[in-house]
Structures are given as structure tokens and as C-alpha cells.
Symmetry: D2
Subunit: 145 residues, 4 copies
């Protein structure tokens, strides 16, 4: 595959796949890529026992990790690497053992060196579990090897 020839959504898919291949945390949590496009990513994760908090529901950190991974794949979708600078997450409903959560990341603003993304996490019945807003910052290099 000649990666330099990829553009738009095909480039976004290649970037998401390349990041996922190195993303040990996403792999170990069983996160899967449902869709990757330019400035967009949608990921899924099924809540396992080892993702529960002391309240018996999904640990906020696991909801965050799913959303943060979607954020990463959306803001790295143009083969220009970005890292998270600051993020706000609101927890709106609990997620329960066995449920499959879907995180959808959409681009609000993409500028020369910074970007803003909105990520929602929903249960399979559409309940909003959390809503995440992230600011990212461009770093050197490329996403694809």
C-alpha cells in the first residue's frame, strides 16, 4: 500500500489502524474500531468485570479511556500527530456489566496547531453515559510509519 497516495477517509482509516496496532491499552480493553473518517471516529467496548469501580458500575476511567481513544483517532486522522492537552468529561448515566458502549468523536474545530473535539459515549440502547470535550495539540512527525 503506498500510504503517501491516501487521502481523506482512506487516510483516516489507515491512521486509525496504525494507531490501534500500537495502542496496547485499547487492545487490552477490547476496543474495536467501528468507523474512521477524516475528523471522525466511532469505537465500541463491552464492559467487563475488570472495568467496574467500587460502585459496581463502569469505572469512570474506563469510560474516559474509550472516549479518549476515539478522540485520539479522530484528531490524528490526517496523518498529523496530535496529543491531548486538556479534556472535560461529564458522567451522565452509569454503564453496567456486559453492556457495549459506543464512543463517537466529531471534530468541532481543527486549526493549524490545535483542535477541539466532542465525544459522546452511549449504551447500546442510546443512553448517554458520558460526554467528553477535548483540546489537542499538534506534535512533530507523522502518524503512519
Amino acid at each position: 500500500m503506498e500510504q503517501e497516495a491516501l487521502t481523506g477517509d482512506a487516510l483516516a482509516r489507515a491512521c486509525a489502524q496504525a494507531m490501534f496496532a500500537r495502542d496496547r491499552a485499547a487492545q487490552s480493553l477490547g476496543i474495536t474500531i467501528e468507523e474512521a473518517r477524516e475528523g471522525y471516529a466511532r469505537l465500541a467496548m463491552t464492559i467487563r468485570e475488570d472495568m467496574l469501580s467500587g460502585h459496581g458500575i463502569i469505572h469512570g476511567g474506563m469510560t474516559f479511556t474509550l472516549a479518549d481513544t476515539a478522540f485520539a483517532y479522530a484528531c490524528n486522522s490526517r496523518n498529523v500527530p496530535h496529543v491531548a492537552l486538556s479534556v472535560t468529561i461529564s458522567f451522565t448515566a452509569p454503564g453496567n456489566l456486559g453492556e457495549t458502549l459506543v464512543a463517537e468523536a466529531v471534530e468541532v474545530v481543527s486549526k493549524a496547531r490545535t483542535g477541539l473535539y466532542d465525544i459522546t459515549v452511549r449504551s447500546s440502547t442510546g443512553t448517554l453515559i458520558g460526554t467528553f470535550r477535548g483540546t489537542c495539540y499538534r506534535i512533530r512527525g507523522t502518524v503512519l510509519p
Copy 2:
């Protein structure tokens, strides 16, 4: 142990231990409780391979999870259960494989039904990896069984 007799820091330690005993996510990440006091918690976690992101550094979600766990133990330290409502995290430096991170949660404000906590995550050399500010909300029941 007659739990109803516990107060102050002893109650805080009992609450942190009770939460940790049910906290499958914290257990599976190897998080340990270094100290728990009233309105305060300090936890440690060593960065493993399965905590790395596609950038080869600790996944933001893993840093968040450590901080969020410290937040939970601090804001549940009076045997009155609270859950996170919204959180902002800023990532200030990368964390690398093998490093032990320490999250320290301190209480800013504790009111009848809400609270505000500041959590810092530092490397073993003292570098600030991330800074987390969380708002929590009281729910019914008790932390101790």
C-alpha cells in the same frame, strides 16, 4: 471491627479499603493505596505495556483512571457515597513504561451534596504528568457494607 465506631482518618482508611476491595478496575491496573485520610487519598500505579497508547507513552485514559480512583477514595472518605459528575484533566508531561506514578487527591470544598477535589499525578522524579479537578455528587447509602 465495629465500623460505626470509626471516625476521621480511621474511617477514611476503612472506606478506601472497602472501595478497593470492590474496585475491579483499580485492582486489575495494579493500583495501590499509599495513604487515605479524611478528604485525602494517595495512590500509586506502575506503567505497564498494556497501559501504553499509540504514541508509545501512557494512555491518557490510564492516567485519568489513576487520578479518578484517588478522587473516588478521597470523596468517599466519610462513608457518604459520592460519584463523579464532571472532571477536567490537563496532560502536562508524558509518562513512560516502567515509571511509577503517584496520584494525590486533596479536597478543595466539601458541601452537603457536592464536592470539589484537586488531583495531581506525578512521576517518581516529581514531574507533573497531569492535573485533574473533579466535581462529585452525593448519592444514597453508605460506603461501608
Copy 3:
């Protein structure tokens, strides 16, 4: 007007008008109510010289104030008073002298004691100036006198 008979959008309009009548800050900034509905408010403000920062563009505090006012009117629209607990705002483009900004507040979640609202601030050409997400908390009493 028998206020106890008001419901839905009519109640929301009465609440917004009652709040605005007491809202000295909103009045002094020339903020106007374009629309108020249940869980929703849209306000306008024209950028004056006394709203500029040291960078010669609208002061972030003035953009925030417009958004925060829309937030307040949306989350008080059911005659149940709420106050802001925590808010995150991202500044995405400058606002210039003489421009009229429009803030639109929409409800994400409304629960028994807390709520989450998204507010966007746009210029008259539709440019996103800022995006604001607020968590509010219920207090005692009513909005209408």
C-alpha cells in the same frame, strides 16, 4: 397573569423574563432574549468598546458572560432554580468590535438535582466564537416571585 397556570414554553418565557428583570449584569451588557423555551435559551449581545480585552478582541469574560446567561435562563426554565456548579469554555475564534454574538443554550441532561447544558456562541456570520458546557445544581425556592 396567573403564573401557576403557565407550563412548558410559556413558563420558560416567564422565567427568562423574570430572571432578566433582576439580572443587572445582563442588562448592563445590552444582552437581549431572542428566544426562551423549556430547556433552551437564545440570547444576543453586540460587542462594545468596553467589552474588549488587551488583545483588542472581545474579552473572554464577556463571551463567557453571554454564554453563562443563556445557560442560566435555559436551566431555570421550569421555575426550579439552579445555579452553575462548574463550566468549561473553549475559545475558538475572536469576536470583534461591533459584531453581534448569539448564544444558544440546549439541554443535554436534566435530572432531579443536576443538569448539563451545551452553549455555543456564534458571530452573525455563523463563526463559532466559543463553546461552553455547564453543570448546574438545584437550589431551593422558585424562579418566579
Copy 4:
């Protein structure tokens, strides 16, 4: 005054004064500079009638504006202009008519192109009114003319 010779805290004071001289919003709210140092600013503002919200306490936007101004002067203290990218504010107590609020901005991290600052707003009796955390981004030019 040969501005190119200024360094450290003297440069910070000159930058704060230059920003304030152009900061129409800060002037119109009666904000005063109590102290400006490298990476630090402390400002005061007395709550006037035209700063009150519909709840009869200081409008959240006015508390934000005071904090945001302190943030601006702290993050522009090295004559390298920065603008706010995203900010989170938590409101912890009401401010009342006639009270003088003090905002203190301290630098958490200052990097090549971004910075992180913590700002507290307190009443004259020391009550924490709000706590503000801001991420800023470097722009071109200088602060001093």
C-alpha cells in the same frame, strides 16, 4: 523607559500595565492590579450592582472575567503574547454586593507554545468564591508595543 532592558518581575509589571491600558473590559469593571510578577498576577474587583445576576449574587460571568484577566496578565508576563484556549471554572460560594474579590493567578506549567494556570477568586474574608484553570496558547508578536 527602555523596555528591551526589562527582565523578570519588572518585565511582568510592564506587560500587565500595558495590557491593562488597552483592556477596556477590565477598566470598566474597576479591576485593579495588586501585584504582577513573572508567571503570576493578583487582581482585585469590588462587586457593584451592575455585576449581579438574577439570583442577586455576583454573575458567574463577572467572577470569570476577574479570574480570566488575572490569567491573561500572568500568562503574558514574559512579553510573549498568549490567548486562552480552554478554561474550566468551578463556583464554590456566592459573592455579594460590595465585597472586594481578589483573583490570584499562578503558573502550573509554561511550555514553548502552551501554558497551564490556576486562578483562585476569594472574598476579603478568604472564602473561596471560584477556582479557574486555564490553558493558553502562544500567538505571534509581543505584549509591549
